[in-house]
Amino acid sequence: MSKPLVVFDKVQKHFGSFVAVKELDFEIREGEFLAIMGPSGCGKTTTLRMLAGLEAPSIGEIRLNDRVMNDVAPHERDTPLVWQSLALFPFLTARENVEFGLKMRGVDKAERKERALKWLDKMGILEFENRHISTLSGGQKQRVALARSLVMEPQILLLDEPLSALDAHLVIRMQAVLTDLQRELGITFVYVTHSQSEAFAMADRVIIMGKGEIAQIGTPKDIYRAPANQFVAEFVGRNNILSGKVASVDGNTARITTASGDFTVPTNEVLLIEGHKASFVISADLVHITLEEPEAGNKAYCKLISEEFVGSMVTLFLEDAQGHEFKVQMQERELSKIDPHSGDEIWLSWDTQSAHVLNEG
């Protein structure tokens, strides 16, 4: 494990009586791509702004390279931010925008120009050097904003939902640009987003925040396959969540009784007590469908409500007799072998090991 670059030490942020950040206690490692993800109002942007010095923590300490940053003014930090609004200077040309930070730091004119041109070139927008910002397209502006921050050659780059204003096809392209850049430069990226696909596609580690707290920290795979709690499971979305009571515990597996039936789940070191409430999730892509009833194992009989196509992937929305919703995700060509129609009743089944018990509730 590489050494921590940034430490959030029991950080809280209050705005009057409103608590934006309840308690943050985590580290950002050197050279990692960290995504902070959560619904709007979860405190993710406040967290980033505290790192940039635009907000001061109310309680706790933020350390960068072992230096306490709480009272360091924003302009004395080296934490450039790529803004959601981009915040490019509209009265300057693309190159002047990129030169801005160097100018503030007193870098002489010739060097400023050279470094700005190098970065415009690197971002593939050298030809727009003298264009005014208002004449650039969304993707070009995005690259100017990135160049403007990266020309400072920082140790850490902060990004606040930088792709939210772009068209879908541009988002995918910019994701590739960002991951390549991060790998090439080897600097730390802290990327705030509400988009799961952006976070999972780019980040080494993801922090899921909810209501001013960290709900889970882990790799995208951890979070997707093994959500720590109901909040994360629901936020990640492509999950079936079943809640009920523990009927019996037998070594590494347990039996959970839900309204939709009895199911066997692996305990995964979660303490399950007979008679207590328990919930578990099965990722939608780990559920199989069949027309005939499977012989044994975990199964549910459902009616198909609707289908949603995204390219070659299909998501089926189903409902069992108790009205509980199930989601199944599969390849379109696999589905066409069975070819169910809305209103058809089919069987769902999954391997015991596919299920994941949640820590709470």
Partner: protein, 266 residues
């Protein structure tokens, strides 16, 4: 479609009539300034530049013109500076009594000029500052600063609030950010405000007349000439003042318009 056309026609006539109503007296004054006859009667006499020659030969008028120039330029600078500061404080900070603070700043234009002028005179004589050229400058600055603030505030409201923080984030101190971001962003509004406040000050009569003492501005000297006798010199000066004011207002509008255009593109 046809109905629309006739409606447009009626509205066009209406606009023309309004312009005629507003500008007819000024146009008449311009015409009479080139009229050889002493009294403004129709039929007109011959074309003549006699009155202009007379005005140009009058040292009092020259002095008044110089005074007007000094007053309007100084007023424009001071009022725009004050307006910029108040507009920025409104944009940047939230504080208690901000509502009353803004209301107070916007108050001067709502006070009847004659009351304002009297109050200024009383106050200036009390503190021994009346009858000077700078008395007019101070009074005019108070009078026009609200216009400057309104124009600049409009511009600041168009600014992405992240822009300032972005400059800090890139290593700009507060002063550097003011110089390299806020002022350049407000530049069109600042020019617009300079021209607008200069125009208001150049035209203003009541306050100037009360506080000026012996330092007459152009509008004051016009009254003085009219009081003595009927003299078409007034028309000549009036034409000159009108042209200067119109030029300033048009310039202010041009900057204002270019700013609107830019904000649409942003």
């Amino acid at each position: 479609m046809k109905q629309n056309r006739s409606l447009n026609f009626v509205l066009g006539i209406y606009v023309l009539l309004i312009f005629a109503f507003v500008f007819a007296p000024i146009i008449f004054s311009m015409i009479f300034s080139f009229n050889s006859q002493r009294f403004p009667t129709i039929p007109l006499g011959e074309f003549s530049t006699e009155w202009y020659a007379k005005v140009l030969a009058d040292p009092d008028v020259w002095e008044a013109a110089l005074n007007s120039l000094i007053v309007s330029c100084s007023t424009a600078l001071i009022a725009t500076f004050l307006g910029f500061c108040t507009a920025y404080s409104d944009f940047r900070y939230n504080f208690r009594f901000k509502g009353p603070y803004l209301a107070l700043i916007l108050l001067p234009p709502t006070i009847p000029l004659i009351i304002m002028a009297l109050a200024m005179l009383a106050w200036f004589s009390k503190i021994g500052m009346s009858g000077q050229l700078y008395s007019i400058i101070i009074a005019h600055s108070v009078l026009t600063a609200p216009f400057a603030m309104a124009v600049i505030r409009l511009r600041l409201n168009q600014m992405d609030p992240d822009l300032e923080a972005a400059a800090w984030n890139l290593g700009g101190s507060e002063w550097q950010t003011m110089r390299h971001v806020i002022v350049p962003f407000c530049k069109p509004a600042i020019f617009s405000s300079l021209f607008l406040t200069a125009a208001v000050s150049f035209d203003e009569f009541a306050v100037s007349w009360f506080v000026s003492g012996l330092n007459k501005t152009l509008p004051v000297i016009v009254l003085e000439i009219v009081q003595g006798n009927i003299d078409p010199q007034v028309n000549a000066i009036g034409t000159f003042v009108f042209l200067i004011s119109m030029t300033l207002v048009v310039l202010a509008q041009l900057f204002f318009a270019s700013r609107q255009m830019k904000s649409i593109k942003l």
